[in-house]
Every structure is written in structure tokens, then in C-alpha cells.
């Protein structure tokens, strides 16, 4: 019986479609990825509203307050109760003064949990008012 000699040439698959697809996937994910976690907090489930639309232009001097379901407030990574909030807001005011701006130039963004008692939110607003902040933005999630 005649034995055929083995062919030494290697079989190569066409990689081009796979690389095309992979690059398209990378491009899509790069465009869609959102790294900005600064003004978000996973513990806060925002209430939904059909009128909540993202602002056309970014807010000037935003200060984000996260209000948890328990009523605790997170500002700049620090979790405090309402009693301790004024001290943190005072620091924010000082940094505004250092920039030559007043408290009225800042906007307090309130990201409160949907099941948080309204009284707690009002107490936070009152603490802000007592430290001379008067512009507020109540944040809600866009209802699709």
C-alpha cells in the first residue's frame, strides 16, 4: 500500500472578520462606557419621573448630596447625619470663597432615595439654607 507523504503546510484560518468584529465591539464599548461615578451612588435609588431630562449644560459649582433611605447624608465620600452636615457644607462654602464665589453661585444637587422620609430631605434643605445655599436641584431618574 502506498502511504502518502504528509503535507507540511499549516492551515490558516482567516482572522480578518474576527478582528473587524472585535474592533467594532471595542469602539462601541469605548463610546458607551461611563467612568464618572462622582455624582452617583449605588445605595441611592432615585425616584422616577417622566419629566426628568438631563440638563442642557452642566451646572455651575455643583455640590452633590446623597440622602440614603435611613436619612444619612453622603457628601464628598463622607457619611454624616444631618447634625454633621453643616460643618461639611461650611467647608464647601470656604472653598467657594477661595475661588471668589458666593454660596449662591453653587447648586446643591439632592439625590435622595425614593423611600427616604420627606422630612429628612427637608431637614437637609434647611441645613443648606442655614449655610446660605439657596439653589437646589432635586434629581430624579428618567422614566422611559
Amino acid at each position: 500500500m502506498k502511504i502518502k507523504s504528509r503535507d507540511n503546510s499549516t492551515a490558516e484560518g482567516d482572522m480578518t472578520p474576527m478582528i473587524d468584529m472585535t474592533f467594532q465591539l471595542i469602539a462601541f464599548l469605548m463610546v458607551m462606557v461611563n467612568f464618572s461615578q462622582v455624582d452617583q451612588n449605588a445605595a441611592v435609588q432615585l425616584p422616577k419621573s417622566e419629566l426628568a431630562r438631563p440638563a442642557d449644560k452642566p451646572l455651575e459649582e455643583p455640590i452633590t448630596l446623597h440622602i440614603l433611605k435611613s436619612g444619612e447624608v453622603i457628601l464628598g465620600g463622607q457619611t454624616v447625619y444631618i447634625e454633621g452636615l453643616k460643618a461639611l457644607l461650611g467647608r464647601e462654602a470656604e472653598s467657594l470663597h477661595a475661588k471668589g464665589k458666593s454660596e449662591q453661585a453653587a447648586t446643591i444637587i439632592i439625590r435622595a432615595h425614593k423611600d427616604c422620609p420627606t422630612g429628612k430631605v427637608q431637614e437637609v434643605i434647611k441645613a443648606c439654607q442655614e449655610t446660605r445655599f439657596d439653589r437646589f436641584a432635586l434629581r430624579a431618574q428618567e422614566e422611559l
Partner: protein
């Protein structure tokens, strides 16, 4: 001068090493897939509330002050909505229809829509979600893709104490 013929152009196929590139590409792909998170858009309701808010200009005599009272039960669920003396049960849609009736269709400078102001008076333990629903109802509604604005000036009454009703 004699020009030498390059070896590479002599019909030899130059093969690129694809393996390192594919390695890096897959690492990039893995990184982006791991860090990908679908985030729904967030929007704001802007409220300006100085500590002792003086009325800007003279109060509008043609429009009675609108005070919305939101009552809650012990667990913070909404039990009733009332605007001045009108009760709407727990229907924010009825509240919106009433506001549309008060404001009318007139829009633009000097219209009721521009001067109207709503004050929200809520029970302490009322779930915040209901407040946002109330603000949504009074501040506008969607007509197709367009948002028709109603009342833009919204403020809160002083916070009630825990368990205080009335």
C-alpha cells in the same frame, strides 16, 4: 551603478505576527466589557429656596395661593392629596388636570404659568418618591415628545415634625 534586487521583493510573502495584537485586543475587550454599565439618564427639578423667601414682586391677585398637602400613613405611603380645599384622593393625574384648568393654555411672559407658585406641605414620613410625583404633576406633562410646562415655581413648607399632622 548596479541596483541590487531586494530579497523581500523577490516574491516572498511577509507575514505579520498577529498573536500579540489579538492578545492586546482581547484584553481591551475584556476590560471594557467588565467596566460597562448601562446607566439611565438622570434629570433635575430646579428649585430656588432662600431661607426666608421674600416674594419677588407683588403677589398675583388673579391666582389664589396653591398649597398642596400630601398626607401619609405610618409607613410613609401616600393617603391623600389636597390642593387648598380640593381633595384628589391619591391621584396625581387628577391634580395635574386641576392645575391645567387653573393655569390655562396661556404661555409666555406675564402668563399665569409664569407667575404661579406651588407650595408643598408634606408629612414628615411621606416617602420622597411621592414628592417627586407631585412635583412632576404640577410642573408639566408630556405631549408626544414635547414637554408642556405648567408651574415652574415650587417651594416647600417648613418641615413638619415626626408624627405631626393637620
Amino acid at each position: 551603478m548596479k541596483i541590487r534586487k531586494s530579497k523581500a521583493t523577490a516574491g516572498d510573502k511577509v507575514e505579520l505576527q498577529m498573536t500579540p495584537m489579538i492578545d492586546v485586543v482581547f484584553q481591551l475587550l475584556t476590560f471594557f466589557i467588565m467596566s460597562f454599565k448601562i446607566v439611565t439618564e438622570e434629570g433635575d427639578f430646579n428649585v430656588k429656596m432662600p431661607i426666608s423667601a421674600p416674594r419677588e414682586g407683588l403677589p398675583d391677585e388673579s391666582l389664589p395661593p396653591m398649597k398642596i398637602r400630601l398626607r401619609a400613613d405610618g409607613s410613609g405611603n401616600l393617603t391623600s392629596i389636597a390642593l387648598n380645599d380640593n381633595s384628589f384622593g391619591t391621584s396625581f393625574a387628577s391634580l395635574r388636570d386641576y392645575i391645567i384648568g387653573v393655569i390655562g393654555d396661556d404661555r409666555g411672559p406675564g402668563s399665569l404659568q409664569e407667575t404661579a407658585e406651588v407650595e408643598l406641605d408634606c408629612d414628615y414620613n411621606l416617602k420622597y418618591d411621592n414628592v417627586v410625583q407631585a412635583i412632576t404633576s404640577v410642573s408639566g406633562y408630556k405631549q408626544g415628545d414635547q414637554i408642556v410646562k405648567l408651574v415652574e415655581k415650587i417651594k416647600f413648607s417648613p418641615p413638619r415634625k415626626v408624627g405631626e399632622s393637620g
